[in-house]
Symmetry: C2
Subunit: 120 residues, 2 copies
């Protein structure tokens, strides 16, 4: 299991990758067979190709992330963060929960946000 | 499935129940067969008796909760919140994710916090 520090560093790198416009820095954090559920309640995206496409589009759209509070760890293989996705004319309030494998890669990402969490 | 508004109201009631020292107001939000994982990585607590004991002790210990950011919903049956647990001489930074049943009761609570998220 990765350390708390490793997991929190990965979540910070996820934020930084968006903010430097570098989708490869974001997708490199994921295992090849990872599952991304964004938002929770929609069908999951599975595997390298789907993840590369999803984050490529999100970063290209100009989404910038700002943490609303310090990143949290756990007593296990998960870390979580509350942040805002800032795009021109729109802000989405999100809580992501990430699960890691023993190699320190993200194997599951679940993003919690609803239509009521969008400010325009 | 409960509405976003119903789920967010339940999470606010959870915070308010702690802050008014009323454990019954907190435990009434849960289904009888709910599962509480606090923190993630420790064994789950299952069912009414375990949940009543857990929250009875937490409220009796004087834990007060303060939201760090607005409560998030989802596109499904989950809502999440980033908050701090404030006790005399200690603060724990937590992200809770709650899953609801069709009756609007919490069936699963997962609390994300690690030893590094405790400030003394």
């Amino acid at each position: 299991m990765p350390t708390q520090e490793q997991m929190k560093s990965a979540l910070q790198a996820y934020v930084d990758g968006f903010n430097s416009g570098d989708p490869a820095a974001v997708t490199a954090l994921f295992a090849d067979d990872a599952v991304v559920v964004d938002p929770v309640g929609n069908p999951p995206m599975e595997g390298r190709a789907a993840i590369d496409e999803f984050y490529g589009n999100a970063v290209a759209a100009g989404a910038k992330l700002s943490l609303d509070a310090p990143i949290r760890g756990s007593h296990g293989d998960r870390a979580a963060m509350a942040f805002s996705v800032n795009m021109p004319g729109m802000r989405i309030r999100v809580i992501d929960v990430m699960t890691f494998n023993d190699d320190g890669k993200i194997v599951r990402m679940e993003a919690h946000w609803g239509l009521d969490d969008i400010e325009q």
